[in-house]
Amino acid sequence: MHGKCGLFFSSYAAEARFFQSGFQRTCLGLFVLLLVAAPLLVGPYLLSVLNIICIAVIGAVSLNLLTGVCGQISLGHGAFMGVGAYGAAICTLRGVPFPLALLAGGAAASLAGMVFGVPSLRLKGIYLAIATLAAQLILEYVFLHAGGITGGSNGLLLDPPTIFGFSCNTDARMFYLLLVCAALSLLVVANLLRTRHGRAFVAIRDFHLSAEIAGVNLFAYKLMAFGVSAFLAGVAGGLWAHYTQFVSPEQFGISQSISCLAMIIIGGLGSVLGSVFGAVFLTLLPEGLNLVAGTLSAWFPDISAQLVALREGVFGLTLVLFLIFEPEGLAHRWKLVRAYWKLYPFAH
């Protein structure tokens, strides 16, 4: 039923689907199959990169919900991930089963997000960014100085996550856990966007005065955006902590917040797919640089040392280039590519 001249729907439900044509569903199926087979296909190093990508995807999509969709800039996302990481870590260290601990970490992050989201009722744009920056610094301070429960600068050592007696103690096992979590996160955010809550978030972003007149309780919905977003960030943090089996304050510093923001800017603000693109792109960027350095070192022996120093610069440069040349992000570019191939080889 995938007509060459377009898709024609006979019910509203069919139109509300994420993947509307048989071709799209086939592609998705193949992609999922490829991901499931990935641990068999790639080496251990690449698998660890894939794991990091899964965690980054959750972090990026959660921030995209708050900043891209609801328009509330947050510079405290790294700290919200940290709250989730410490929350989950403290729970598992006290013997709470991992799935419950992960949810508890998410809930703790959600609470922190809502508390630091309260200024959003009064503050917008750059002022809110500063307020959430304060959240980042305060929470970082707590991680470092509440030594009794967070382990201070020594951090906490963790065991690999165990789910119903099954230990995710290898990268491959961890990969499946992270893949499921990332897929679920993408699904709930995408679901949210096609319901009244997601529309209310966009309404707040685009014109908060008329959103209020349309019946959206601004304060409640802004807090909800902070809460849901920080919950997912907390889950990402909890997974990360248990993947690396270590939590320390340095992991959740301001640079983490910035890199989450960079992911959604590069990927595309307000787009679920864009969050994935951004997370993949920014995680692969340093890997790509290493590859380039490795190749060039045959001719220039010193280059890898210099490129390491250049890494931050390349990161910044990429961000600036994206803001200038592709402000709508990779998701927009993807749309253009798709539109081009839809009618290939005919121009119109």
């Binding site: 509300a16 949210l192 685009d206 014109f207």
Partner: protein, 260 residues
């Protein structure tokens, strides 16, 4: 009893009085216009009713319920909605989604149903989409259904804005200059929509408009504001010939207009 009762509303901004002791009523099933020169306080009055401003004193009731006692977002749920003078659409949302935001207060499934998009959320979306489609048909918006509202021509955006207000199924709809910036043909279309909103959709209309031809043709009642107080209140014929209105609002010498 009238649908909307405005009694003794006074609104000041740091001592500058925008509205002074304003009172009028809007009968159910009527089209009532609020007119007056620039700065007379028309939009301020609408803002008091819709909840953007809180008046210093006075009382506003809709269907007997005290509007001033409830926050702006609650007023939609008891049957009030409005459009804005300058277009205030959600630019990033499609026309359909703009209308669905208009129905926000009528959709009542919870956050968890939304996150999972299961049963209640799915069914409610389907049911309310049907109502939104009725409005799309009524306002002839179907060619733009899935387009982002921010990219549409001005006249269409005005219609989407009207549709969003209508989507809430209001008892009283406040229209702030719906004809502003429209050509003759679009103005006639809009006038027809406004009549249909009253006659077919059963909503009472409170209209703020500068186009006197439209106001005099459509209105059952006209309220004239000047410098923040009510100058006259009555049928278009009465208001048109009221000497106070003619001199204060239309200019004392402009007798030609009064005789139109």
């Amino acid at each position: 009893m009238a649908l909307l009762e405005v009694e003794n509303i006074t609104l000041t901004f740091r001592g500058l009085a925008a509205l002074m002791d304003v009172g009028f009523s809007v009968e159910e099933g009527s089209i009532t216009s609020l007119i007056g020169p620039n700065g007379a306080g028309k939009t301020s009055m609408l803002n008091c009713i819709s909840g953007r401003y809180t008046p210093d004193s006075g009382r506003i009731t809709l269907d007997g319920q005290d509007l001033l006692a409830m926050p702006a977002h609650r007023r939609t749920t008891i049957g009030l909605s409005r459009t804005f003078q300058n277009i205030a659409l959600f630019k990033g949302l499609s026309v359909l989604d703009n209308l669905m935001v208009g129905r926000h207060g009528r959709l009542d499934y919870g956050l968890f149903a939304a996150l999972l998009y299961w049963g209640p959320a799915r069914r409610a979306e389907d049911r309310h989409r049907r109502r939104a489609e009725d409005i799309i048909d009524f306002l002839n918006l179907s060619p733009w259904r899935h387009q982002a509202a921010g990219r549409l021509p001005y006249g269409v955006q005005k219609r989407v804005e009207l549709g969003r207000a209508l989507a809430a199924e209001p008892k009283l709809i406040l229209l702030d200059e719906p004809m502003a910036g429209m050509n003759l043909e679009e103005t006639e279309d809009m006038a027809r929509y406004i009549l249909d909103i009253r006659d077919e959709w059963g909503a009472t209309v409170l209209l703020v408009e500068h186009d006197m031809g439209v106001v005099m043709d459509l209105s059952d009642q006209v309220v004239v504001l000047d410098f923040g107080s009510v100058l006259a209140h009555g049928t278009p014929e009465r208001v048109r010939t009221d000497p106070a209105v003619v001199s204060a609002y239309l200019g004392a010498e402009d007798a030609a207009f009064a005789g139109r």
